[in-house]
């Protein structure tokens, strides 16, 4: 920027790097992050009112203070999650991003990339291309996201949407499905954040795009 006499190497880095994450992806990603955390933390408080298993969530990590407050948060953040999620799905299909980035997923690719990842031999040189483990996890979490919304809707409107409840095999089963999806999302979140910190340039790409 300051010198006109730049070497070839410098010239290469000075040209604008290609955009890895387009602006719409970054926007829906961070809106989704906020919505998901609000949904999970208020959901834990709602869970505590009638636990499915022999444990409750500590009030230090729940949102809403009591059941009524948590429900207000949950049923407000659900709009953010759903509208943002629908925009993501629509643009993901319309722009061809899903097809381009997430497909194909082959069992052989997943096995070899998992092995490479566990021995720290997986390459992250080109962040615009997802490896097979990423493809599987990102596709999987989109499916889980759709299922958690559908099971949530069926619990919210078990009479108006009784066909949806039947699809899950009944109201009580829908509760377990909803909880299981939450657990999968939290597990994904732990791995996702850990890996983003291990490969900081991927985090940078999700913030500034490059």
């Amino acid at each position: 920027m300051t010198s006109l006499a730049v070497s070839d190497h410098q010239a290469e880095t000075a040209t604008p790097a290609k955009v890895i994450q387009p602006v719409w992806v970054r926007m829906v990603h961070w809106i989704n992050a906020v919505a998901m955390i609000l949904m999970i933390m208020s959901g834990w408080q709602i869970y505590n009112a009638s636990p499915l298993f022999g444990f409750s969530f500590s009030s230090n990590i729940t949102l809403g203070g009591w059941l009524g407050g948590a429900l207000l948060w949950h049923f407000a953040a659900m709009w953010l999650l759903m509208v943002n999620g629908l925009i993501y799905l629509a643009l993901g299909f319309a722009t061809g991003r899903f097809r381009r980035k997430l497909l194909p997923i082959t069992p052989a690719g997943v096995i070899s990339d998992t092995r490479a990842a566990l021995t720290f031999k997986l390459s992250h040189d080109d962040l615009s291309k997802y490896n097979s483990v990423q493809k599987l996890l990102y596709t999987g979490i989109i499916v889980v996201g759709v299922v958690i919304v559908l099971s949530g809707l069926s619990m919210w409107k078990p009479v108006q949407l009784h066909w949806l409840v039947s699809l899950f095999g009944g109201y009580d089963i829908a509760r377990y499905v909803h909880f299981t999806c939450m657990a999968l999302i939290v597990a994904f979140l732990v791995i996702h954040v850990a890996l983003a910190l291990l490969v900081p340039k991927s985090l940078r790409a999700m913030i500034i795009g490059r």
Partner: protein, 261 residues
């Protein structure tokens, strides 16, 4: 925030000022204020933002809840029936549930009790239990879903509320039927008219073919299978047909008012 800053007097400790202000609030407001404070504390930790104006967040959540009332009213199909179940699926024992213990449940003498009918109705006569028992009754085996998340299947028998509303000449274009009950601390709850006219909304006199026991709301409960359990009044004393939103025991504390299933 700017508005708040203007109100602060230099030299006055902000924390002490807030503590004094909180002390002047009535008990219920105080509890809700603190509750919202806790949740905002969690949010502050989460985002690193300085969210101090907790009352504005609470106002926003209340507005979204009102919006959700409208969405649910729009989704409500007056002809969609709650699923019914075979008697073999009835939950035994059916849980007693209230904001008080069973020993504190109202004990009502059926012979002295009368259902008061008020508001936008032609006939404001009060009804004795014997008179109500003579009305045609139907049975339903439906799922009771609690706001807490658990559910239980029960068998309820009684008179469809819409038949009774017709009988007393109620203005069915009014917005609400508002119930007042004998529970301690005065439980009451508004029911939107479209739900009141739903074919399965019932003035219930029997549970499992037996006269409604004290635990489930003797002498009369309102069974609304298209609403969450807290909007199914028990120990009913009066019903009022009205265009005014008169609030409710749980609704005033923050549960969503429509709370439809």
């Amino acid at each position: 925030m700017g508005r708040l800053r203007k109100l602060l007097i230099p030299g006055v400790d902000k924390k002490l000022l807030v503590r004094d202000a909180v002390k002047t609030m009535p008990e219920l407001t105080r509890r809700r204020f603190i509750t919202a404070g806790t949740s905002l504390g969690a949010l502050t930790l989460l985002t690193g933002c300085d969210v101090v104006d907790s009352s504005s967040a609470e106002e926003l959540l209340k507005k979204v809840s009102k919006f959700n009332d409208a969405v649910q009213a729009w989704m409500f199909n007056p002809d969609a029936l709650a699923p019914t179940f075979p008697e073999s699926m009835i939950t035994k024992p059916f849980p007693f549930n209230a904001y008080y213990g069973l020993d504190e449940a109202p004990e009502i003498a059926g012979a002295d009790w009368k259902l008061e009918v008020r508001g936008l109705v032609d006939n404001k006569k009060s009804w004795t239990l014997d008179e109500l028992y003579k009305l045609p009754q139907v049975k339903q085996v439906t799922r009771h879903i609690c706001v807490e998340g658990w559910s239980a299947i029960g068998s309820w028998t009684g008179t469809p509320l819409r038949d009774f509303l017709k009988l007393v000449g109620a203005d069915t274009h009014a917005k609400y039927v508002w119930f007042q009950c004998a529970d301690k601390d005065g439980y009451n709850s508004p029911l939107d008219m479209r739900t009141a006219l739903h074919p399965q909304t019932q003035m219930t006199f029997k549970f499992g073919d037996e006269i409604l026991p004290r635990a489930y709301g003797f002498p009369m409960k309102i069974r609304v299978p298209t609403k969450l359990g807290f909007k199914n009044p028990k120990y009913v004393l009066s019903m009022e047909v009205t265009n005014d939103y008169k609030g409710g025991y749980w609704e005033d504390q923050g549960y969503n008012s429509f709370s439809g299933s």
